[in-house]
């Protein structure tokens, strides 16, 4: 569906075992100018939906179906097909409604249903589309300036609780990063611009890092200086660097990479960036020093969900299994929506064949905007709304094999591994991520799923640039590398590239 979005012709599948209601609803929906398909059985509905995934825009189903629990159907539809689902029932008990919401229903209608309720169901479809667009748009922003994202969170609603939560988390995280910068009092204003890490910009970044080479300290400041991009800030670079390193580690693990544990052994709290710079230049990595200079308690700033909160002293699998349990199924079925893509390879992530058409299509846009400080708001989102209209042009086409998304060349993997090992990054076998925050975890998992299928394409390119990369991230004591809280990543980044 690539209309400018009109409710007319919305393709609705209505599922109800009550023949009277089915007939009434069919008539009501037709009166709303929707295109209606009726179904009396849940299994039949699933069959129809799976048969032609793109044939329907929204599903309305009764909770009580004879052949399958309506909530189960809801889950299937939501997970496999990612369609908005509205539940209906003559029963309006709060706990049932809650169950519906928990299972991902974007609405719960009480019978008897009125016309006015059906007239607005198209909003759920639109909302979902916009959400997807914004998710993907986020992939292309490597900067720390996600302030404007805050506006977007207001548009997000519906059943996508996790992604909504994730955006909030990112906002909080990034906000924290920005607030940490004391050097520029007007930083909060100046940083409202989003940095789009275009291919070219990232090239500069990579070149700068290489230039610094193996024997020098490669902190964000130095990188920034070398990049010679006037409008770029150190924070932008720091953030990008952080993401890049994480990307590398994910590459290393490929599909299995779920964790960045290395243990944050002695860190109590992250120092401020300013102090970090001084630390970097001094070559100090004394944990005590770091510990003593804390910005603020990250736990209060970043609003980590309690279950994921853990001490920084020891890195134990931070993610409660329940968090993961809920995340894992999503990993399997949800369209990958990488929230953070870095490097030219990850700037234009190859979409999986049947998924994320938006991703590839947005690449050309980025290329055009590369050097401008982009005050991206919804402009790109609008463009993204009609991805089918654009051609899939990918910058790295000559470098990657588009038809083999799941190739992961082993020698390249080895390189990554070597690199990472030289960094003394522990490559954990266990199945957890460095993020406490489950929302972020969610995004990482999705990322990994996505990257796992596409990373192979980029590895060659990747490592041409980083032949001496081991030094870049080396020397930093492991305990400084892995954060349980996002701030710690900042810490790590600032210290990460310094080589004594």
């Amino acid at each position: 569906m690539d209309k400018g979005f009109s409710p007319v012709g919305l393709r609705v599948l209505v599922v109800d075992d009550d023949p009277t209601w089915l007939k009434i609803l069919e008539k009501m929906l037709k009166k709303c100018s929707y295109e209606v398909t009726t179904c009396g059985l849940a299994r039949e509905a699933l069959r129809l939906l799976r048969e032609r995934k793109d044939r329907y825009d929204i599903v309305i189903s009764d909770v009580n179906m004879p052949d399958m629990d309506g909530f189960k159907l809801l889950e299937h539809v939501g997970l496999e097909l990612d369609l908005p689902v509205i539940m209906m029932s003559v029963d309006g008990e709060t706990k049932r409604v809650m169950k519906g919401v928990q299972h991902g229903a974007c609405d719960y209608l009480l019978k008897p249903i009125r016309m006015k309720e059906l007239k607005i169901i198209w909003q759920h479809v639109l909302r979902k589309k916009l959400q997807e667009v914004r998710d993907i748009e986020g992939c292309y922003e490597g900067g720390a300036d996600w302030f404007t994202r805050n506006d977007e969170t207001h548009y997000l609603g519906g059943g996508e609780d996790v992604s909504f939560g994730r955006k909030r988390k990112e906002f909080d995280f990034e906000k924290k990063l920005l607030l940490q910068d004391e050097s520029d009092p007007s930083s909060s204003t100046s940083k409202k611009a989003r940095v789009v890490w275009s291919f070219e910009l990232h090239q500069k970044f990579v070149n700068a890092v290489n230039q610094i080479g193996c024997d020098h300290k490669a902190g964000p400041k130095k990188i920034l200086d070398l990049m010679n991009v006037p409008w770029l800030t150190r924070e932008n670079v720091a953030s990008h660097l952080q993401k890049y390193r994480l990307y590398l580690s994910r590459l290393e693990k490929g599909k299995e990479l779920k964790c960045y544990s290395g243990g944050v052994k002695n860190m109590d709290s992250p120092p401020k960036d300013a102090e970090f710079s001084s630390l970097i230049h001094k070559g100090e990595t004394d944990p005590k020093q770091l510990a003593s200079s804390s910005v603020s308690d990250p736990s209060s700033d970043v609003h980590m969900p309690p279950k994921a909160k853990k001490t920084r002293v020891e890195f134990d699998p931070p993610i409660s299994s329940s968090a993961f349990d809920s995340l894992i199924p999503w990993d399997d079925v949800i369209e990958p929506k990488p929230t953070i893509l870095y490097e030219s390879s990850f700037l234009q992530q190859q979409p999986l064949p049947s998924q994320s058409p938006y991703v590839a299509n947005s690449a050309p846009t980025l290329m055009e905007d590369e050097m401008k400080p982009s005050y991206e708001t919804c402009v790109n989102a609008d463009e993204f709304l009609m991805p089918q209209d654009k051609n899939s042009t990918v910058i790295l086409q000559d470098l990657v094999d588009l038809s083999a998304p799941s190739v992961i060349s082993s020698n390249v993997t080895n390189d990554t591994e070597t690199m990472l090992r030289s960094l003394n990054w522990e490559l954990p076998e266990s199945h957890h991520s460095g993020f406490i925050d489950t929302d972020l975890d969610f995004s990482w998992i999705q990322n990994e799923h996505f990257l796992a299928n596409t990373s192979g394409n980029f590895q060659n390119f990747q490592f041409q640039d980083y032949s001496c990369s081991p030094s870049l991230l080396s020397e930093l004591p492991p305990h400084l590398w892995f954060g349980n809280e996002p701030e710690e990543y900042t810490l790590m980044i600032d210290n990460g590239l310094f080589i004594s």
Binding site: T20, V90, K111
Partner: protein
């Protein structure tokens, strides 16, 4: 009986169904869905309701007549009946189902039997009244008159 009188009778009759609480406002939604493409939408829907309810009541009676009543089976039937009665606005049937379900929850066989009787009573009542209503309408139409939503008096 002349046409005008018949129409008046129809109006009064319809009104009484609402006054007595046999039907609720949901019933008024149905004629609004009727148009040229399906000029007997309302009667079709009501017929469906009758068919479905007959079936449910039958199954419900059978399950309650078991030596050992399985409320896991009984309750869903009552729920179904509640749902379908809500579709045409058969208010008293729906209310009777609500009471019925609460006794199912309590697993009170005796009370459930009484509830079943109550539900049946309400069901036959609304069925009867609606059949009369449609007959009145048919007479009017047969006499050359027109039925519109306005004739229902609301």
């Amino acid at each position: 009986m002349e046409l005008g009188q018949m129409q008046k009778s129809l109006q009064d009759y319809t009104k009484s169904l609402f006054v007595e609480g046999i039907l609720d406002s949901q019933f008024l939604q149905l004629p609004q869905l009727q148009d040229e493409s399906n000029s007997d939408f309302v009667s079709q829907v009501v017929s469906l309701f009758f068919q479905d309810s007959d079936r449910i009541l039958n199954d419900l009676s059978l399950s309650l007549d078991q030596k050992v009543v399985d409320f896991e089976k009984v309750d869903p039937y009552v729920h179904q009946l509640k749902g379908s009665s809500s579709s045409i606005g058969a208010q008293r049937v729906k209310n009777a189902c609500v009471v019925f379900r609460s006794f199912c929850e309590q697993k009170n066989v005796e009370a459930c039997h009484r509830c079943l009787q109550q539900v049946k009573q309400e069901y036959y009542l609304v069925k009867n009244r609606l059949e009369t209503l449609f007959k009145l309408e048919q007479q009017i139409v047969a006499s050359g008159g027109m039925i519109s939503a306005m004739d229902l008096g609301f």
